[in-house]
C-alpha cells in the first residue's frame, strides 16, 4: 500500500497512527510530558534538597527565627522582641524585606519553625511548575520539539545551583518565569497584549521584594518590547508609567506600608532612618575590595563600616546617613584612583564572563553564530528575542561586576538563569531549522516518488514516514546534506558585511574564552584573599603540645597528601586533587575547658590550605582559618584561636581549599597547641558593628 493509497483512504501502519496522533495532539502531549517530568522532578527535589537554608548567613537565619517567634506570638511583622515585652527591634533593616515578611507568615500558617523545610518546599512549589510549563512554552516560542523535550531535564539539572541558596534563587525564578512569557507576548504581539504585562510586572515586583532587582531583568525587557512594538511616545509613556507603578507596588509601596504600620503598632519609628531595601553603596564600596589592594578594602562588612565612620563619625550601619557616607567614599575612591577602580571592574567582568564559559560554553560559541549568520529575517527575530532577554543578562552581570562575581547563587542567580534561558533558546534556534528541513525533505521526496503531494508538517509526518511501503531510505540524501547550514537558517551565506559578521562570530567567543583564561587566576586569588586568616608575629599563651615536623610527621597522624618530602629543615607537602580533601589529620587529644591557640609555622608556597581544630566526636570544625600563597608570612605564624566549654577530644586538621585546578604546595616546620589565659586578646575585636551586629553580604 503506497502513500497514494493513504490519501485515497488506505490504512497506515500502527506506528504511523501513533506518530500521526502525536503530531496532531502535540500540545496536549507536551503538557502531559511536562506533568510526568515534573512528578519525577518533585520526587527528585524532595529527596535531594537538604539544608535549603544553607545559603542564608547565620545573621539572616537568626533574624528570620526572631520574626517567626514574634509573629507566632501575634506580634507585627518585620520585628523581633528582646527580653522585655516592650523591647522591640526591627528586622531586615539592612536587607530586602520580602523574605522576612513571607517566610514568618508561612511558618505561622503552616505551624512550623523549621526554616530549612519551609525554604525547601517553597523552592519546590516555585520551581516544579516550571517543569510542567516549559515544554509547551518553549515549543510555542521556538517551534522546536527537540528544545521542548530537552527543556525539563536541562532545567532540573541546573536547579542544583539554586536549591540550597535560601531565597537567593528568587532572581532566577523571576527570569525563568517571566522572560519566556515576555517572548510569547512579543511573538503574538497586539496592542491589547500590553495589559498582560501588568500582572507580570506585579510578579516581578513580588520577586524584587524578596531579592533586590530580581524582577528588573523582566522590566527592562518589557520596556524594550514597548519601545519596539508601540508607535509614538504618546502611547509608550503611559504604558511605561503603568508598568513602573506595577513594578514598585509590592517591592516598594507594600513593603514600606508594612513597616509604617509596624511602627504604629510598636510605637517607634524603625522605618525612616533606613533605606527601603538592600543597602546599595555598602555593597558597591565593598565590591572594590574583590582583589588584593593597597587601600585596605576587602569584601567584609566591618571594612565598609569603618570607611563610613571615617567619612562621617555619626554614620551608623545601615542607616540612610551611612549609605550617603559610603556613596561619598566610593566616589572619592573613583576620583582619586580611577585606574584601580577600572582594573577592578575589568577583571570582575572577565570573571563574570568566565563563569558563563564554565557553566554554558556552548552558549558562548553558538549565540553569535545564530545572531550573525543565517537569513536576515531569522537573524532579526533572534536579535529581538535576545534584546528582550538582554536586560536580565545586564542585571545579572552588573551584580557580579559591581559587587562580587563569586560563583554562588547569592551573587550569580540572575546571571546563571539568564544563561540557562539563553541555552534553551539556542537549542531551539539550532533544532528548529533542522526539524523544518527534515520535514521539507520528506515532503519533496514524497512528491518525487510520485505517490502523493501531502502537506508535510507535524500533522502528516507520521503518515508519510511510516506508511507500510514507504522506502524512506530514499529520503536520506535529501536530508543529510542540508542539516548543518539549515540549523543557522540559510544555505546561502550572502548579504552585506558578511565577512565582518563572520569575523565577529569567531572573535566574540574567542574574546570571552580569553577573558575566562586570563581571569582564572584572579578569581582564585580573590577567593583566597577574601577568606585569608590572620598571621601572628609572636607566640601567645603557654605551650601545651609541640610537634616539630621539619623531618617527619608523627607516626599516629594520618596523611592523605599526594607527597610529603623533607627539604632544608622543612616538610614540603603537595596536596591531593580533592577540592576540600583532607591532607593531614592528627591523632585525637582531649582538652580541658578553656581558650586555646593552634599555631603553625610554615608557609603556603602554591594554592592555599585550611587549618583547623575538629571535634573528634562530631567531625565538625570548632574553628579554622584559610591561608594562601599571596600572604606575606615572613616569620609570622598561622593561628587558629578556639574555645572549649567542656572537655572535648579534638584533632588538628589540614585540608585543601582549592578554587582552581592547581594542587597546593605547603612547607611546614612546627605545630604548637597553646593555652591562653583569660585576658589574652589576639585580634582586633571589631568583629561586629552597627546597632545590631552582623550585617549583610
Amino acid at each position: 500500500m503506497g502513500l497514494g493509497d493513504i490519501s485515497a483512504g488506505g490504512q497506515p501502519t500502527a506506528l504511523g497512527h501513533i506518530v500521526a496522533f502525536t503530531t496532531v495532539h502535540l500540545r496536549s502531549i507536551l503538557i502531559a510530558y511536562g506533568i510526568v517530568f515534573a512528578s519525577f522532578g518533585l520526587v527528585r527535589l524532595e529527596h535531594d534538597i537538604h539544608g535549603a537554608e544553607a545559603g542564608l548567613s547565620p545573621y539572616r537565619l537568626t533574624q528570620l527565627a526572631s520574626s517567626i517567634d514574634l509573629v507566632d506570638r501575634h506580634g507585627p511583622p518585620l520585628t523581633g522582641a528582646g527580653q522585655s515585652p516592650a523591647s522591640f527591634y526591627p528586622i531586615a533593616v539592612d536587607d530586602d524585606r520580602g523574605g522576612f515578611v513571607y517566610v514568618p507568615l508561612a511558618a505561622h500558617f503552616l505551624k512550623t519553625r523549621d526554616i530549612g523545610e519551609l525554604l525547601k518546599w517553597t523552592f519546590i512549589l516555585f520551581f516544579v511548575p516550571l517543569l510542567v510549563a516549559y515544554p509547551l512554552v518553549l515549543y510555542e516560542i521556538t517551534r522546536s520539539v527537540v528544545a521542548a523535550i530537552a527543556a525539563p531535564p536541562i532545567l532540573l539539572g541546573h536547579f542544583a545551583f539554586l536549591e540550597t541558596s535560601g531565597f537567593f534563587w528568587m532572581p532566577a525564578w523571576a527570569n525563568l518565569v517571566l522572560l519566556p512569557i515576555l517572548l510569547l507576548v512579543n511573538k503574538h504581539w497586539r496592542q491589547s497584549r500590553f495589559w498582560l504585562l501588568i500582572p507580570l510586572a506585579l510578579i516581578a515586583s513580588f520577586a524584587s521584594s524578596v531579592r533586590a532587582n530580581a524582577g528588573l531583568g523582566f522590566m527592562i525587557g518589557a520596556l524594550v518590547l514597548i519601545i519596539l512594538r508601540v508607535k509614538g511616545w504618546g502611547m509608550r509613556l503611559p504604558m511605561i508609567a503603568l508598568l513602573l507603578l506595577a513594578y514598585l507596588s509590592i517591592s516598594s509601596f507594600a513593603m514600606r506600608a508594612i513597616q509604617l504600620q509596624r511602627d504604629e503598632v510598636v510605637g517607634h519609628d524603625f522605618t525612616s532612618p533606613y533605606p527601603n531595601g538592600h543597602p546599595l553603596w555598602h555593597n558597591v564600596y565593598l565590591g572594590l575590595g574583590y582583589l588584593k589592594n593597597p587601600y585596605g578594602i576587602r569584601i567584609k562588612d566591618p571594612i565598609a563600616a569603618a570607611a563610613a565612620r571615617r567619612e562621617d563619625p555619626a554614620a551608623a550601619f545601615p542607616t540612610k546617613r551611612y549609605e550617603s557616607a559610603l556613596r561619598r567614599v566610593y566616589f572619592k575612591t573613583l576620583e582619586h584612583h580611577p585606574t584601580f577602580v577600572a582594573r577592578e571592574y575589568l577583571i570582575k567582568a572577565g570573571v563574570v564572563f568566565g563563569s558563563a564559559v564554565k557553566w554554558f560554553p556552548f552558549v558562548i560559541v553558538l549565540t553569535p553564530i545564530f545572531l550573525l549568520l543565517g537569513r536576515p529575517r531569522e537573524r532579526r527575530r533572534r536579535g529581538v528575542e535576545l534584546m528582550l532577554l538582554a536586560g536580565a543578562g545586564l542585571v545579572g552581570a552588573s551584580t557580579g561586576v559591581l559587587v562580587n562575581p563569586e560563583r554562588v547563587a547569592e551573587n550569580q542567580s540572575a546571571w546563571y538563569s539568564f544563561l540557562l534561558l539563553l541555552w534553551l533558546m539556542v537549542l531551539g534556534w539550532f533544532a528548529r531549522p533542522i526539524e523544518e528541513v527534515t520535514f521539507t525533505a520528506l515532503h519533496r521526496a514524497a512528491k518525487r516518488t510520485a505517490r502523493v503531494a501531502l502537506v508535510v508538517g507535524w500533522r502528516n509526518v507520521g503518515r508519510v514516514f511510516f506508511a507500510r511501503d514507504t522506502t524512506w531510505w530514499r529520503l536520506r540524501p535529501n536530508v543529510g546534506g542540508r542539516l548543518a547550514w539549515s540549523s543557522i537558517g540559510s544555505s546561502r551565506f550572502r548579504g552585506r558585511n558578511r565577512f565582518f559578521r563572520l569575523a565577529l562570530v569567531v572573535l566574540i567567543p574567542s574574546a570571552i574564552f580569553l577573558a575566562e583564561a586570563s581571569t582564572n587566576s584572579s578569581y582564585a586569588a580573590a577567593s583566597y584573599w577574601n577568606a585569608e586568616g590572620p598571621l601572628l608575629a609572636q607566640g601567645y599563651g603557654r605551650v601545651i603540645a609541640d610537634w616539630n615536623v621539619e623531618s617527619h610527621l608523627p607516626s599516629d597522624w594520618v596523611v592523605s597528601a599526594n607527597s610529603v618530602k623533607r627539604k632544608q629543615h622543612q616538610l614540603i607537602l603537595e596536596t591531593n586533587s580533592d577540592r576540600y580533601g583532607y591532607e593531614i589529620n592528627s591523632a585525637p587529644r582531649t582538652l580541658r575547658p578553656g581558650r586555646y591557640l593552634l599555631e603553625v609555622s610554615g608557609r603556603v608556597l602554591k594554592g592555599s590550605l585550611r587549618v583547623g581544630v575538629v571535634d573528634d566526636r562530631t567531625g565538625t570544625f570548632i574553628a579554622s582559618n584559610i591561608y594562601w600563597s599571596g600572604q606575606r608570612f615572613r616569620g609570622r605564624h598561622m593561628a587558629v584561636p578556639f574555645e572549649l566549654a567542656k572537655d572535648a577530644p579534638v584533632r588538628i586538621l589540614f585540608t585543601n581549599f582549592k578554587v582552581n585546578d592547581e594542587n597546593g604546595l605547603w612547607s611546614l616546620s612546627t605545630i604548637q597547641l597553646r593555652q591562653l589565659d583569660g585576658g589574652c586578646r589576639l585580634f582586633d575585636p571589631a568583629a561586629s558593628f552597627g546597632p545590631l551586629g552582623g550585617g549583610p553580604t
Partner: protein
C-alpha cells in the same frame, strides 16, 4: 434651533475629562498614600484597599461604557489597572498583619 424644543443635556468636555480621570486619580492616590515615602497623604492598608476597590468599580463601569477604539477606553483601562495594582499592594500589606490580628490593623 426652534424655540421651545428640548435641548439635550451635555456635559462640558472639560468636566467630562475630569470626571473620567477620577478613578485613575483615586487608584493612584490609594497606591501612593499606601507606601510612597514622600506622599503627603498616608493611608492604612485597609483604607487604601477600600479606595482601590471604589476606584476599580468606577473604572470598570467606564471600561464597559466607553467604545474600545476610543482614547478614553485606554484611560479607563489604565485606571482599572492602577486600582488593581493598589488593591494587590494593600492586600499584601494587610496579609502581613493577619497573625497580629485586630490589634495591628
Amino acid at each position: 434651533m426652534r424655540t421651545g424644543a428640548a435641548r439635550p443635556v451635555r456635559i462640558d468636555s472639560f468636566a467630562l475629562a475630569i470626571f473620567r480621570l477620577i478613578p485613575l486619580m483615586l487608584g493612584l492616590t490609594a497606591l501612593l498614600a499606601l507606601g510612597w515615602d514622600r506622599s503627603p497623604l498616608r493611608m492604612h492598608a485597609t483604607t487604601a484597599a477600600v479606595w482601590a476597590v471604589v476606584a476599580g468599580a468606577l473604572a470598570l463601569v467606564e471600561v464597559r461604557r466607553v467604545p474600545r477604539e476610543s482614547a478614553w477606553w485606554f484611560l479607563a483601562a489604565s485606571a482599572l489597572a492602577v486600582s488593581a495594582i493598589a488593591l494587590i499592594a494593600s492586600l499584601v500589606a494587610l496579609m502581613a498583619f493577619i497573625p497580629c490580628g485586630a490589634q495591628c490593623v
